[in-house]
Amino acid sequence: MAMISLRNVSKWYGPTFQVLKDCSVEVKKGEVVVVCGPSGSGKSTLIKTINALETIQGGEIVVDGIAVSAPKTNLPKLRARVGMVFQHFELFPHLRILENLCLGQEKVLGRSHEAAMVKAEALLDRVGLKAHAQKYPGQLSGGQQQRVAIARALVMDPICMLFDEPTSALDPEMITEVLDVMVELAREGMTMMVVTHEMGFARKVAHRVVFMDAGEIVEDAAKEDFFARPRSERARSFLSKILSH
């Protein structure tokens, strides 16, 4: 059964500009799907519709059997089960690292402070940042902050994870430490949808690659097929551009 399913999703900015055109895609449980495409193609918008950070005007999104845009859906409850990692980390700068990791657990899941701390420390240890528990986000490097952001999503025990260009704002030498955490996560069987240009990551762990251009899903293919035999001219030209160096 599909964990995430988008059917004919459409979105407009204003009356005329259509950012998403009839997008349909499915992510099965345990699957890793990479979304790529030129900038402005609607990848980030698409992934944000899944936890309703972006509204849609047409189509349907179902996450774990729950219709996201149905009026009676409890959005906070749904979002708590869908982890999300942002391009610019978005850690809460006024809270310590541990407090960043405890906020959602205590306020949303209702865990006790002690239980939240145990969980937070475990996840922090997992991303290799236990030593920084008492620091503020501003005292960490970009790569460290993004690892904390991944931990902040994981402490909620999500059923799937969404990554919105998680390495685009990082200096090159910090990309690897974030990708390592993501690869490990993928290998453990986490359901993931990842907007990224890191084709190395896609090659290593993705099951499928979705290629978007101008608000449309142009290709949705198994990883091997996408890299070996891209069907569309647009995907071929995109791949040649980002793989040429």
């Binding site: 944000k48 936890n51 950070l53 959005l75 906070p76 409850k77 979002r79 708590a80 089960r81 869908v82 982890g83 999300m84 942002f86 610019h88 978005e90 850690l91 809460f92 700068p93 006024h94 906020l103 959602g104 306020k107 949303v108 899941l109 503020y136 986000p137 501003g138 005292q139 902040r152 999503a153 909620m156």
Partner: protein, 230 residues
Amino acid sequence: MFSDFDFGVIWRALPYLFKEGMTFTLTLTAVATVGGVMLGTVIALLRLSSLPVLPKLAAGYVNVMRALPLVLVIFLFYFLMPYVGQWALRTSQPIQVGALSSTIITFTLFEAAYFAEIMRAGIQSIPHGQVAAGYAIGLTYRQVMSYVVLPQAFRNMLPVIFTQTIVLFQDTSLVYVLSITDFLGAASKVAQRDGRLTEMYLFAAAVYFLISFTASMLVKRLQARISIVR
């Protein structure tokens, strides 16, 4: 020139000036600041909300208050409050509102308009990504505001809030129009009783200057220390 002055007047009046006068001035400043920031935050949230009508009402309140001189508002509220109270509590007679409670309410309501604008700027200075991140971990609108946006907005705006408080501290002297004994009122009373106007007003000016200037120096220091590292 100073040979005719009697600075002993000040010395003898000190207990009265500070125990009565300054205590009231500082109390009014503190209450109006705390009340004004709380009410102002609510007004700012309403103004930024997507609710029907309320944003317009909040904006109207802020604009009206900021367009009126404080002295006028102090008078107006003093005369109107008994009737507003009568209407609100459905009593047969206009209710009794002392000059003291009237000033405290007036200053809080008046300052709220200014603090609302400060808090609005503070809230709008928080990047949208912070709000999105709050929602993404499952927080509700109310929780995003209380745990993510407002603490940061308040912290960013703290120097501006304190600067407004210093202005408020000076403005409290306007309560003289209701014959309330604040610091300046007390100085003025002693001055007229003893016929020592120049000495007392010079002394009052020195005290206001010393407190306001020291406070604004502290705010400057705070500003340097408080900025959040991103």
